[in-house]
Amino acid sequence: MATRSGLEKLLKENPPAKRFVPYCYLSRQADELTVYFEGEADYSERLSDHLTLYRSLETNEIIGCRIKGIDGILADLPNFIRVNHDGVELSILFFAFRGGAEGEVREAISDLAREAGERKMVLQTAL
């Protein structure tokens, strides 16, 4: 069980890298894709059953997201696109996910895809 002092020791001995680097990762266990473009303090906003946005507390801008139920999309991808050894371009994943979305959700996914494309983000995954 963690104690306050134990947690502080852990944080001190395992400190974060000095500079934030955008990242994305897939949790197979939770069936979720998590993406962060910026590392500032944020809050989450659930837009739909499948999409949660992370927004900056300071500016309210979208700085990341979590997409749930991602396994089906990933399983289908090789049928539609060529996946190279570097992984899947994140922007492609967002566009695949945008298919059935409407209104605010569709708009948010487009923003996420644009941001991921500009940053050339790639999801490393064994498809």
Binding site: A2, G6, L10, P16, A17, Y23, S44
Partner: protein, 140 residues
Amino acid sequence: MGTKWKVEFNAIDPKDAPRARWKVGVPEWLYKRQQIHGHEKELARLRLVLEVLQEEGGTKRLYEGWSRPGKEDCYVYVGRPNRDYKSLRIETPPPPGMIFLIFVLSDGTIDGWTLRKARPDDPNGPLGVTGKLIWQLDQA
């Protein structure tokens, strides 16, 4: 800390709340992911995870289900810490109208933690969480 997790907490057991406790924890890979990418505020907010899960009165509510198919056996712990962290060294007041959520899988693995707006008419009720409320502090 000698467990399957990088850091382990003693949280209210959803199956016998609030009398029993169970072990939940942050997996090594998740901590490492945030560490190598310099996601400092996420690691700093582990202090809030500890406060909400372990300290007296830290957990205000406990929901079962993540409001999506296949995740009915997962849990959401809700708390209202009196601070937030921008980084390991910068502590700030809690953002007004927000509460802290911790998402836990059925085996006790902590999947994530986040701030979320509370419902305007329910300061302990997070927006977008529609699972089954299985315990709340003022009913204990």
